[in-house]
């Protein structure tokens, strides 16, 4: 199994702690002497203090606590301490004087010191690391805490394997919208399919609806969703032959849906800088009605902007959100200002006759957690078996997992399935079901909440292309540390002049990106098997 850098670091850390807490060789601190000469000799040899016990032939024991000496003339051991009988009842305490010939065995004990050093050191280092990470996360909550509801087909999965994330940009009631996420082909044995929604962030999730779209699939068929939320039945997959980015060939990163992603770091001068990726597909047998299928997600850049905006609002966050709610133009500016400046993943197709790139359209979906798989039907007519495609995208904003060409057979209409049961902690929750099904009602999900939505899928057993539709909005919880970041002018610049904001914020973001992005995403385990992933 190939381990990521972060996993290895953690493994080494654990190994280090195991090593320093390990005490393979026990120390022997106790010695026994049957004759006085060897006791005296040993005591002179040792510099450290030795505590003496004299075990008498009658079973008594005399323990010299403070000082002791051997009187070789009178054959006595003298000192201060305590005396006990054979059942260890105390006989006396204070000055002791015993005849050497009454002693069966002398016992010396070294003082036991530093026995806990290694364990305390290990706990100290661990505490230091914990505090450092805790301080980092509390001062950079953008880096450590997620956003929006996450959905899991397997409820045991963690956020790295989220199958969908709902309405990522709906950070206030007026921004509520419905979001469609591809769940990829799933074979459903029985007539039911369930998905679990988790609130894994410091947010209140206000969920209006959760629905399932299921398309039965025949052999070699797929259904893809377009950025305009239209659905296309597709056949024939043309795998990527070659991909080149500014760093060189990246074909291996984009050929498979294996979560080995291609991403780049942001431009340190301007966060709206763009870059190009060139793709080549060969052996395209049917160049007519082609579409480009892309599996992608965002980096943490947009999450950074959302948290930054909240920080700039400081203690006026309530007032500003009230203004957003009552003014469409403010909401529109906040929602689309930076988004427009950052741009989409624009798709161009090479026209060999015109010897020019022809713009098709673009992909855009907010959210750094779950992958989005969408298709973009080519608007230009394409000929030839070799197809060249160019992606133009923001530097540092996108993570691309897989790209392929496919033939679009026809546009298909979705059948939307309602939830038939909602469970919370394994128990049917009729109120939650009523809230999800009611048009004007909302299911409120607080941090730590998990809801399981169960759908009845007609026609099973059968393979389906599934999509999750989730509608609602979420309220980000204001963190105390953010209030200190209040900067209304910066907020105004972000909303009114996003182009300038993205230039001026580049340095701060790069710092965040350096300290956070790499470690966070390197921590993903990229060898997990994803049976729900189409290949």
């Amino acid at each position: 199994m190939k381990k990521s850098y972060f996993s290895c670091m953690m493994g080494l850390l654990a190994a280090f702690f195991l090593l320093i807490t390990c005490s393979p060789n026990p120390f022997f601190f106790r010695s026994n002497y049957t004759d006085t000469n060897s006791l005296i000799h040993q005591r002179e040899k040792l510099q450290e203090e030795q505590f003496l016990k004299a075990h008498l032939k009658n079973g008594e024991v005399h323990i010299f606590r403070e000082m002791w000496a051997v009187d070789t003339i009178q054959d006595l051991v003298i000192g201060k301490g305590s005396s006990y009988d054979f059942n260890r009842k105390k006989i006396s305490e204070g000055q002791i004087s015993i005849q050497i010939d009454s002693v069966a065995i002398f016992e010396t004990n070294s003082k036991l010191e530093g026995t806990e050093k290694k364990r305390i050191r290990a706990l100290g280092i661990l505490a230091g690391v914990d505090v450092a990470i805790g301080v980092f996360c509390l001062t950079n909550p953008k880096a450590c805490f997620g956003s929006c509801p996450t959905f899991y087909i397997d409820a045991q999965d963690n956020f790295h394997y989220a199958d969908a994330e709902g309405f990522s940009t709906a950070i206030s009631p007026s921004m509520e919208y419905s979001d469609i996420d591809a769940l990829n082909p799933q074979f459903i044995n029985e007539n039911s399919f369930s998905i679990t929604m988790k609130n894994e962030a410091l947010e209140t999730h206000v969920v209006n609806s959760v629905n399932l779209i299921a398309f039965p699939l025949q052999k070699d068929e797929r259904v893809h969703q377009s950025p305009q939320d239209e659905f296309y039945l597709c056949r024939n997959i043309y795998s990527l032959k070659k991909a080149v980015g500014k760093e060189g060939e990246i074909t291996g990163l984009l050929q498979q849906a294996d979560r080995k992603e291609r991403f780049s770091l942001a431009d340190e001068e301007n966060l709206s800088s763009r870059e190009e990726i060139f793709l080549t597909f060969e052996d395209v047998k049917k160049p007519e009605s082609l579409g480009l299928s892309l599996s992608f997600r965002q980096t943490l850049m947009t999450t950074y902007f959302i948290y930054s905006a909240m920080g700039y609002m400081g203690d006026e966050v309530g007032d500003i959100f009230a203004r957003i709610e009552t003014s469409d133009s403010t909401a529109e500016k906040l929602k689309n200002g930076i988004k427009k400046e950052l741009g989409k993943i624009d798709i161009y197709v090479w026209n060999p006759k015109k010897e020019d790139w022809e713009f098709q359209a673009g992909f855009y979906e907010t959210g750094p957690i779950a992958f989005n798989r969408q298709i973009l039907p080519f608007s230009s007519s394409v000929t030839g078996e070799e197809i060249k495609v160019k992606l133009v995208l923001n530097k540092g904003l996108w993570r691309l997992d897989q790209v392929e060409l496919t033939n679009i057979v026809k546009k298909v209409e979705p059948e939307v399935l309602d939830v038939c049961e909602v469970k919370k902690k394994g128990i049917t929750d009729a109120v939650a079901k009523a809230e999800i099904l009611g048009d004007e009602r909302y299911l409120i999900s607080m941090p730590g909440n998990e809801y399981q939505f169960i759908f009845e899928v007609p026609g099973a057993p059968q393979e389906y292309e599934l999509f999750l539709v989730s509608g609602g909005y979420y309220i980000e919880w204001m963190r105390e540390s953010w209030i200190k970041e209040k900067d209304i002018l910066k907020l105004k610049q972000m909303v009114d002049n996003p182009s300038r904001y993205l230039k001026e914020e580049a340095k701060s973001y790069k710092e965040y990106e350096r300290s956070m992005e790499q470690e966070f995403w390197n921590s993903k385990i990229d060898t997990k098997n994803f049976p729900h992933y189409g290949t």
Partner: protein, 167 residues
């Protein structure tokens, strides 16, 4: 944290917390001044288990004073019948509290808790387990001859003492 790992950690804590030695086993700093023998747990080849204060050891027999239901009794155990033993000469230091405290502290780590929580749980569990076994010896590191140093009577039971009267 999910319920199952939490239950496992709580069980581990309660198990490790229950691993303290009897009262006659001295604290670490009192070991040089203790008049009693060390605590010994013995597993015999027959599968029988016995534990108590180590009274004496000779070449063929271990003498162990047990205290079942407050009734003290001296047992003679042939060395040849002993499969293994664990001797505890000082009260172990308990680090069990570090398991929940350290592990729960990772809630402030956000996404990183996915990695730091298990690392904290593992490290503190190892520290706790090693702390619980820090002041022990077993048959792999100590011979029966050396074991006698940790008996109440390292010289052997004095012949004039009535063995039945040993308490």
């Amino acid at each position: 944290m999910e319920p199952k790992p939490l239950i496992l950690i709580l069980l581990l804590i309660s198990f490790i917390s229950s691993c303290s030695a009897p009262k006659y086993v001295p604290k670490l700093e009192e070991v040089p001044f203790s008049a009693y023998g060390s605590h010994i747990e013995i597993k015999q080849l027959s599968g029988a288990e016995i534990e108590g204060e180590l009274i004496a050891v000779d070449s063929k027999t271990l003498f162990v004073l047990t205290a079942a239901d407050s009734i003290k009794k001296l047992h003679n155990l042939p060395v040849s019948d002993i499969e293994k033993f664990k001797l505890t000469y000082a009260q172990p230091k308990s680090y069990a509290w570090t398991i929940p405290v350290y592990t729960l502290s990772t809630v402030s780590h956000g996404y990183f808790a996915l990695f730091t929580a298990p690392v904290n749980a593992v490290v503190t569990s190892v520290v706790t387990a090693r702390g619980a076994n820090a002041f022990t010896y077993n048959e792999q590191v100590m011979s029966y001859e050396e074991l006698s140093k940790f008996a109440r009577f390292p010289q052997g039971i004095p012949p004039k003492i009535d063995r039945a009267s040993i308490r």
